[in-house]
């Protein structure tokens, strides 16, 4: 399982949300390493500069869980840049956001998001969504062979 070795990138500024996510990953026995970026700039630095960026893994993530509401460069900008970058656009990006507004959802799919999940307050529901996401993207789906350095 080559995919299993690829990291899952979580772009999430909120520590409590990240904690809850990790709890859900553990619950569903996620094998892949989890990388966290706290803001959009960090995420772009890693993705656009992978292989050269110091301190970052030499591989691209298998999937990205992207929060929209980020300090500085926000999630939509990150999504747009990644999807407009021929080297990166094949990475599945799952938007994971508080916003349930139709315009946010439409915008993200327009920009090329592969999936859109809303964060609910009820942890149980959130845990379940994460489970489904991992099962689908990391086990059921075939992912593209990402570029190797």
């Amino acid at each position: 399982m080559y995919n299993a070795l690829k990291p899952v990138l979580v772009v999430e500024d909120n520590a409590e949300d990240f904690t809850a996510l990790n709890r859900a990953f553990r619950k569903h026995a996620l094998q892949n390493p989890v990388l966290r970026c706290e803001d959009g700039d960090q995420a772009l630095e890693y993705l656009q500069g992978y292989g050269q960026a110091a301190g970052w893994p030499q591989v691209l993530p298998a999937i990205v869980l992207l929060d929209l509401n980020l300090p500085g460069t926000d999630g939509r900008a990150v999504l747009e840049m990644v999807k407009n970058d021929p080297r990166l656009r094949s990475i599945p990006i799952i938007v994971f956001s508080t916003s349930s507004s139709a315009s946010d959802i439409d915008t993200c799919y327009q920009l090329g998001a592969n999936s859109y999940l809303t964060k609910t307050i009820q942890y149980g529901a959130m845990e379940e969504k994460i489970g489904v996401t991992i099962k689908y993207w990391l086990r059921a789906a075939e992912l593209p062979q990402a570029l190797q350095v």
């Binding site: 909120n14 409590e16 949300d17 904690t19 809850a20 709890r23 509401n69 508080t98 916003s99 349930s100 507004s101 139709a102 964060k119 307050i121 009820q122 942890y123 959130m126």
Partner: protein, 768 residues
């Protein structure tokens, strides 16, 4: 061709050259009297009329070179000689018996001095010479003339007086128009004569040189139009080699053309008196008789006196008429402007009676053309013609006010067709937008002239040649004034200008008000946008920045419960559970708020919606809960119509109302009636106009709502009951449902009494 008087003397006069006929030097007189011209220095006769022999038995040739002593006795001669010494152009009258002539006839000597000659004209005495100067009559006549309220009354009096004095069959008063054409405006006739009142004739009927002479010599007299002219002997004055100037001679022979004209008129004798206003020929008093008629000099003088009195007074009468007109126009103008100022729609008001723009001053018709609308008043061209005219005006009539009394001359493509209603036009441009005009129309003047003889057939000579007559003059005048309307008076133009000014001021005012309104609207809009933005940003902040920590609180409480429950006592566990519940509830409130803000600023997706399907879907969603709660759903007024609206939102409205109806009910058997159509009489719902709106209702047999809370229940987060009661909820559902209905243009309200169930009604406009 420039002819001298001398050339013309020997040229036959025709209608085409009569303008140049030297009528002041005919070299001949009318034969009812005789003429002697004397050298002023010697008082000896230098010229005499050829009829002296016929009248007094002395040949003209024999009189030449002698003095008046050949006719007068010494006493009279001395008197006349004294008179001759002081003569001017103004005639002096002396009666004299010709003592040296056989039969000693009595003659009137009419004497004046002109063209370096002393003129002595001998007129026989007439039987009609009664007491000429009747002061009582004159006094009454002048009194009447002074008291006449209008020009027309004044003219009528004058005509009647002259007829009373002279006994002519017909006395008519002509008035000249600015174009020198004439019109008969008053007449007094023998009862058996056809009237000429209203007749017009062309300027050419009175040649220029005749008009010039009429200004000098106020009175012309022809006692017998069938006379044979009597030449002077010699024809040319020896001292000058030309005929003497007979401008002031009463016996002056007139133009043969004029005699022909009189003949065709059926006039055997005429007397005309000039009416002169400030050096201009204003008109004439003309007298006609069917048989020759000799009027004595004194009576003619009296007529001339009346003419001069008339002339002195006419300007005042004309001014009085103008003042009356002016007052009339001013009054109506003031009424119109006042009404227009007060009107909500000033354009509309221009065409409403009391008065309309057409009634302010004399015109046949008018039109108010504004904003693509054309309102026609009175006699006007057709709407299509007016629209074409507007297009022409926009192209060809720059400036605020265009006026003409002959539209055809300016607008050859369309004008001629409008002659009957719009030979005259005033066009007041209202706005910079093309086609915004006030128009006043005036008919072709010919269409407005009526006269009593208009149905007479033009008379023809036997050989078919038309000759001159009043009727022919009228026909000739009609040809000349084709396509022409009565000219617009300065007063009328000023009124049109004032109406235009007033309306444009109102337009400007309206425009400024509109601008102010637009500004305040845009300010309102800005404020609204800002508050919308604020609500949006609040909602956004609420959904993100508030929800995040809330989720943290909620999750960590849960993690505590999951991971540390064993180390907590029951109280601790319960507190954590409360924390979880409260954070959950708060999220509900935030979510509702967000939803409400979205209803406000998201556009509806309007389409045809089958209301039956929407209801079925709402009922399906709620079915499990209806079954749990023993709730029966009854549908009334089915099948329901197809409505216009946003399907998703209508579904939300029904779901909300149905679940409320189910929740707020503590009866063992809960019944919800959902219906469509007319409501029972009594409540506000009965007043809904079902032609314009669909009416839906959701009725329950539940706990009801006290009237004092009917407003409150629609307020955001307003609950009437505790959170644990009736299934809880954030209290946002009705606020959201109401807002959704209002967004559609409908209304949502409740009719209920505490304890007797509630009916929620909402309307949807039939056209969105």
């Amino acid at each position: 061709m420039n002819l001298t008087d001398n050339d013309l003397i020997t040229t036959p006069v025709t209608l085409t050259n009569c303008d140049r006929e030297p009528i002041h030097i005919p070299g001949a007189i009318q034969p009812y009297g005789f003429l002697l011209c004397l050298d002023p220095a010697t008082q000896l006769i230098v010229q005499a009329s050829a009829n002296t022999e016929a009248l007094v038995g002395l040949a003209a040739e024999d009189l030449l070179g002698g003095g008046l002593g050949q006719l007068l006795g010494p006493a009279r001669l001395a008197e006349v000689a004294g008179c001759l010494a002081t003569l001017t152009e103004t005639a002096q009258l002396l009666g004299a018996r010709l003592e040296t002539v056989a039969g000693q006839p009595y003659y009137k000597l009419i004497m004046h001095r002109y063209d370096e000659l002393l003129w002595v004209e001998f007129e026989p005495v007439v039987e009609t010479d009664a007491a000429p100067l009747d002061l009582a009559f004159l006094n009454a006549a002048l009194g009447q003339m002074l008291a006449a309220p209008t020009v027309l009354d004044f003219c009528q009096h004058a005509a009647e007086q002259v007829r009373a004095i002279t006994g002519f069959d017909r006395v008519a008063i002509y008035r000249f128009a600015p174009d020198e054409s004439g019109e008969i405006i008053a007449e007094a006739t023998a009862p058996d004569l056809p009237p000429w009142l209203g007749l017009h004739y062309p300027a050419s009927d009175i040649p220029q040189q005749a008009r010039a002479m009429y200004l000098k010599n106020w009175l012309r007299f022809i006692p017998d139009a069938a006379y044979q002219p009597v030449p002077l002997v010699p024809g040319l004055r020896p001292a000058t080699g030309r005929p003497p100037d007979m401008t002031y001679a009463v016996l002056r022979s007139v133009s043969p053309i004029h005699l022909e004209y009189l003949h065709h008129m059926g006039s055997a004798a005429t007397l005309t008196i000039s009416l002169i206003d400030e050096g201009q020929l204003w008109g004439m008093i003309t007298c006609h008789h069917r048989t020759p008629r000799l009027v004595g000099f004194e009576l003619r003088e009296l007529c001339q006196f009346i003419g001069k009195t008339f002339s002195a007074l006419i300007a005042g009468k004309v001014r009085a008429d103008q003042r009356a007109d002016q007052l009339h126009v001013r009054e109506r103008l003031a009424q119109l402007l006042e009404r227009v100022s007060r009107a909500d729609d000033f354009v509309e008001a221009l065409a409403q009676p009391g008065p309309t723009i057409q009634e302010v001053f004399g015109c046949g018709g008018a039109a108010v053309c504004f904003g693509g609308e054309v309102q026609l008043l009175g006699d006007t061209p057709t709407e299509a013609q007016v629209r074409k005219l507007l297009a022409w005006l926009s192209e060809n009539a720059p400036g605020p006010l265009f006026h003409t009394d002959s539209l055809a001359a300016h607008y050859p493509t369309g004008g001629p067709a409008l002659r009957a209603t719009a030979s005259g036009l005033i066009a007041a441009a209202l706005a910079d937008a093309p086609g915004h005009y006030l128009l006043w129309f005036r008919p072709e003047v010919v269409q407005t002239v009526t006269w009593a003889g208009q149905n007479d057939k033009p008379q023809l000579l036997a050989d078919g040649q038309i000759f001159l007559s009043p009727r022919q003059s009228f026909e000739a005048w009609k040809q000349l004034v084709e396509y022409t309307a009565a000219p617009w008076q300065p007063l009328e133009l000023a009124a049109a200008h004032e109406i235009r000014q007033h309306v444009t001021d109102l337009q400007l005012k309206a425009f400024n008000e509109l601008q102010a309104r637009t500004l305040s609207l845009s300010a309102l809009n800005t404020a609204l946008e800002r508050s919308n933005d604020e609500l949006d940003s609040f909602a956004y902040v609420a959904s993100h920045d508030l929800k995040e920590p809330l989720r943290g609180i909620h999750n960590y409480s849960l993690f505590l419960l999951e991971d540390y429950a064993a180390q907590l006592d029951a109280d601790g566990v319960q507190k954590l559970q409360t924390l979880v519940r409260l954070s959950h509830r708060m999220e509900g409130l935030i979510e509702s708020l967000l939803q409400l803000s979205r209803v406000g600023h998201t556009d509806l997706v309007v389409m045809d919606v089958d209301a039956n399907e929407v209801l079925a879907e709402a009922a399906d969603l709620l079915r499990p809960r209806f079954e749990q709660t023993d709730t029966q759903l009854v549908v009334a007024g089915a099948p329901w119509p197809t409505v216009r609206g946003d399907r998703v939102r209508l579904l939300e409205v029904f779901s909300n109302l149905l679940s409320n109806a189910m929740k707020y009910n503590d009866r063992p058997t809960k019944t919800i009636t959902v219906g469509q159509g007319p409501a029972a009489p009594g409540g506000p719902a009965a007043a809904v106009d079902l032609g314009q709106y669909f009416l839906f209702y959701v009725r329950d047999n539940g706990i009801g709502i006290d009237a004092k809370h009917h407003g409150n229940i629609f307020k955001l987060f307003k609950r009437l009951h505790g959170q644990e009661k009736y299934g809880g909820g954030t209290g946002a559902g009705l606020a959201i449902a109401k807002k959704m209905v209002e967004k559609h243009g409908g209304q949502l309200w409740v009719e209920s009494a505490l304890g007797y169930g509630a009916t929620f009604y909402f309307t949807l406009p039939k056209t969105i």
